[in-house]
Amino acid sequence: MLDLQTAPPETAQLAVAPVITARGLTKSYDRRSVILRGVDLQIQPGERIALIGSNGCGKSTLLKCLIGLHPISGGELDCLGARMQGGGSRAERQRLRQQTGFVFQKHCLVRRRTVLSNVIHGLFGAPGSWRAFSHSIAPEPWRQRALEALDAVNLADKAMMRADALSGGQQQRVAIARALVRRPRLLIADEPAASLDPVSGRNVMDLFQSLCGGQGITLLFTSHDMKHALDYATRVVALKQGRVLFDKPSGRVSQSDLNETFHG
């Protein structure tokens, strides 16, 4: 099984510092399309956070801002020690992404490559990462690490199959293995179960819970499935029109909270 020890924190201070601190975070693409309107959020190491809200409320944008895929427009953002004002410097983005795994809604695998190569792609950005292009030129320790990640998601036997030959659920598990192979401290998942049937979706969420819960990886995921949000998260953060509507432990989220999030 994969040794999912997370990357060692650089200082003792980092080990206890929040993983994410956002204050007054704003994001707009132009004057008319303001997506985030002053988001305050703090996430501690090891937490599992569900980000919920209607379509277009800014969930995916917030996730992408956290790792500098979209530069923020205003406010303060500190993610794993990297200050991401204006998207952060290239070096900071690189350092941050080294410690972060990102799972997309539509798994986003390179469909014509093998499962093993896709998982090894997770090591792009590491020194010598041009060899992460394909499993056939990757160093042996990387191949081994990728196989262990595949084993952790029960797909080691599919390593040499083409990615597009797998089912949607299996492809999502490969995407999770790709995120895990870099031994992240923070795992971000944007509606990881949205494109899956209920059983596959539940399996994927179980996998997140066991892998992250057991190894102390901080998990931040978005979901439209309230059962997933309440069952698998320790805390639920609701966004509405680009602002945090509520931020509370999942056990204390009431039906009226959900009604206000989606209807009110």
């Binding site: 992404r97 469909r111 014509r112 792609h121 792009f124 950005g125 992460a132 292009f133 790709r178 870099r182």
Partner: protein, 267 residues
């Protein structure tokens, strides 16, 4: 109760604006004027038939002398080498050029259009003109032919590779960027595998095109079988010419069969 009023019938020319109609009439007029000026008349065609039959008669039977065939074989080999070397170098050089010119992927940002314009320039100038230029600069022979094919291939593949890169799936690229992959890694890890069938198809077309082009380059002194064909016509050796045309036909047909088979296997 049914409405007694008749249903409004759609306008017969509803999809055609007055401007479009005027443009259509202008193009039609241009075609007719051009045909009147340069297309053969029925009388000219009728007059040409006996001449064509006489020429075909002088071309038959094709020359099958062993010495001649050996000379042709060497020229065909040279032609094939010109096509293969020129296309291979052109295809390899097209990849970075296409990357530099691909919108949304190019490290040059908005400067990508300059590279695109350069590729257009290579494509716009016909291969025989390139051959004349290279014969004038590097001299008569196969090297000029190879350089011509190379430039022609860059013009062709540079455009199609860039278009394929621009059309590649965006999601895997974003996923790789989220991981921390740089531009080159996104290209090699995400874009190229996705567009590989398109790259292979374009490359095979380029090779096919290179073989067809290389047989005529000899007409302007850039090596290959075309040189023999020109000599045969210049010296009225029509039986030699017919043999060369048959060999060219066989080579191009063989090439097309091979590339068709390879294309069918790409998925």
């Amino acid at each position: 109760m049914a409405d007694p009023r008749p249903l409004p019938t759609p306008d017969r020319m509803g999809g055609l604006s007055p401007a479009a109609f005027a443009a259509l009439v202008t193009v039609g007029a241009l075609v007719l004027v051009s045909m009147n000026n340069v297309a053969p008349s029925l009388g000219q065609l009728a007059d040409g038939v006996p001449g064509m039959l006489r020429l075909v008669g002088r071309m038959l039977p094709p020359n099958t002398e062993a010495d001649f065939l050996a000379r042709i074989a060497l020229r065909i080999l040279e032609t094939f080498q010109i096509a293969l070397a020129g296309a291979a170098i052109g295809i390899v050089l097209s990849l970075p050029i296409a990357w530099l010119s691909a919108r949304g992927l190019s490290p040059l940002g908005r400067g990508a259009f300059l590279v695109k314009a350069f590729v257009s320039l290579l494509r716009t100038i016909p291969d025989l003109v390139w051959a004349l230029l290279f014969v004038a600069t590097v001299g008569l022979g196969a090297v000029a032919g190879t350089m011509t094919i190379m430039v022609d291939t860059i013009g062709f593949c540079g455009r199609f590779f860039a278009e394929a890169m621009e059309d590649a799936e965006r999601e895997p690229q974003e996923a790789l960027r989220a991981i921390g992959a740089n531009r080159a890694s996104v290209l090699v890890g995400g874009v190229l595998p996705d567009i590989m069938p398109s790259l292979i198809n374009s490359s095979l077309f380029a090779l096919e095109k290179a073989v067809r082009s290389s047989v005529v380059l000899g007409l302007v002194g850039a090596g290959g079988i075309g040189q023999e064909l020109k000599v045969a016509f210049d010296l009225f050796q029509y039986r030699n010419a017919s043999m060369i045309i048959l060999v060219i036909f066989a080579i191009v047909l063989l090439m097309e069969l091979c590339t068709d088979k390879l294309r069918a296997r790409v998925r």
